[in-house]
């Protein structure tokens, strides 16, 4: 098996083990969505109107919370140094790790989103649309967050700083994600336009994220 595959499977295995924290993002998503009606009242019509936005914000915050196991955990036990010293290009290593991170953190959020849509009184069509936009957009959230994770890798309490750095960069993804969801609900814009832009953002961040993160790691760790 090639080194890339090995690294990928290693990350997947670590994520699902005890202490891996893969499904904690899902639980946080659930808690957040359960919290919102306490804050804004149980008015079902209102919840249905802002449902896509709540799901998107919940996915964004749940993704943010999972980032310390992407790079900081490896830095703390020394395996990040081994990965950086290997023959595999650092950019590829980070892309592979981020992909494994998305499969274990972002994809569960997409799977759970339809169930949470029921809590928010979303119609099936709206729920399907939101889940599709989350599927297209959560890779962008993961890859952009990788930049923040690399910038704050050596900080012990860098969690909040990571959020401050990454949230402004995630704003376009949020805008287009909610725009796509609302386009499916009320129109008149066709659903495909913002969805395509969301896919473009994910693809672009899949390249820019690992490159910027590799630059940050190289500069910040010697």
């Amino acid at each position: 098996m090639s080194a890339v595959t090995e690294l990928f499977i290693r990350d997947l295995r670590l994520a699902v083990r005890v202490g891996g924290g893969a499904l904690m993002g899902v639980v946080f998503f659930l808690v957040l969505v359960a919290l919102i009606p306490f804050a804004i009242g149980p008015d079902l019509a209102l919840l249905a109107r802002i449902g896509p936005a709540i799901l998107w914000l919940g996915a964004l915050l749940a993704t943010l919370l999972g980032f310390d196991r992407l790079l900081t955990a490896d830095h703390e036990d020394g395996s990040l140094d081994l990965i950086l010293m290997a023959r595999m290009p650092v950019e590829i290593a980070i892309m592979v790790k981020a992909l494994a991170h998305w499969l274990t953190t972002g994809l569960p959020l997409v799977v759970v989103a339809p169930l949470l849509g029921i809590l928010l009184n979303l119609e099936p069509q709206a729920t399907g649309a939101v889940a599709l936009t989350l599927l297209a957009g959560t890779p962008a959230l993961t890859f952009i967050g990788t930049i923040g994770a690399a910038l704050t890798v050596a900080l012990r309490r860098g969690g909040l700083l990571l959020a401050i750095l990454v949230l402004p960069l995630n704003i376009p993804v949020l805008i287009f994600g909610v725009a796509a969801s609302n386009a499916a609900l009320v129109g008149p814009m066709p659903f495909g336009t913002p969805l395509t832009i969301l896919c473009a953002l994910s693809l672009m961040s899949a390249v820019i994220g690992p490159f910027a993160a590799a630059l940050a790691l190289r500069q910040g760790l010697d």
Partner: protein
């Protein structure tokens, strides 16, 4: 005079002291001249005297953006050329740029209340400038959190370059989207659209504010160099005290 001559910190301190000696009086003079021109400028036919907020709002906006461009150039200097004073320049520029961006947001908000009827609106220009302000706060937080100045410089440089994508978004936001904020009227391909009686005082105020920015920037760079020297001396002293 090439950039590498400025790389020696002691040489920079000496040179900058001489530059500041004439730069500070020049700034005050240009401010006086520009202020008089702004005071004597005619009222707008629609907005009345409130148009004069523009004489503070536009220079502050320009300098908030310019500071991030300066930080990006300094970031390149740190990452590509390892210029010794590039990170000093970047660290000095961040709070100054943040202050000018905040001033732009506040004066714009005060101007918007009588003009548009609202203190704030979430259109493209205002939102992207607010995002710029948040990124300034983020980079200042980065500088404060990482202890070693050299490492902090490189991490902040990477983040500055990533955040530079916001600058063209701010500049072209009024053209790309339908915004409440008015579109470009000073720097346009087919010539400016402001009347000369207001355009000249505006350019004078922009010049005055730019000189102010340069003065503050050079003074802040001097402070940062001295601060690092102090830190090194404290570390050496602690090292000697705990030695054999």
């Amino acid at each position: 005079m090439n950039l590498i001559e400025w790389a020696n910190p002691s040489r920079f301190l000496a040179l900058s002291a001489r530059v500041l000696a004439w730069l500070i009086p020049a700034t005050l003079l240009v401010f006086a001249a520009a202020g008089v021109q702004a005071y004597l400028a005619p009222d707008d036919y629609q907005q009345g005297a409130t148009v004069k907020i523009m004489f503070i709002h536009v220079p502050a906006a320009w300098l908030g953006i310019f500071a991030w461009v300066l930080m990006s150039a300094a970031a390149l200097g740190t990452l590509v050329w390892r210029h010794p004073l590039a990170d000093v320049a970047a660290k000095a520029a961040a709070p100054i740029g943040a202050a000018f961006t905040l001033m732009c947001l506040l004066t714009g908000s005060l101007w918007g209340r009588p003009m548009w009827g609202t203190y704030w609106v979430w259109d493209a220009r205002l939102t992207s400038v607010l995002v710029l302000f948040l990124m300034y706060l983020g980079v200042i937080a980065l500088w404060q959190t990482i202890e070693d100045p050299t490492r902090a410089a490189r991490i902040a440089a990477v983040f500055t370059l990533v955040g530079a994508i916001n600058i063209p978004i701010i500049k072209f936001s009024v053209d790309w989207w339908n915004t409440l904020h008015q579109s470009a009227s000073v720097l346009r391909l087919d010539g400016s659209t402001i009347h000369v009686s207001i355009r000249v005082p505006l350019l004078a105020m922009i010049a005055a504010f730019t000189l102010l920015f340069l003065t503050l920037q050079i003074a802040a760079m001097r402070n940062e160099i001295l601060r690092r020297r102090l830190r090194t001396m404290l570390m050496l002293q602690a090292d000697a005290a705990s030695g054999p």
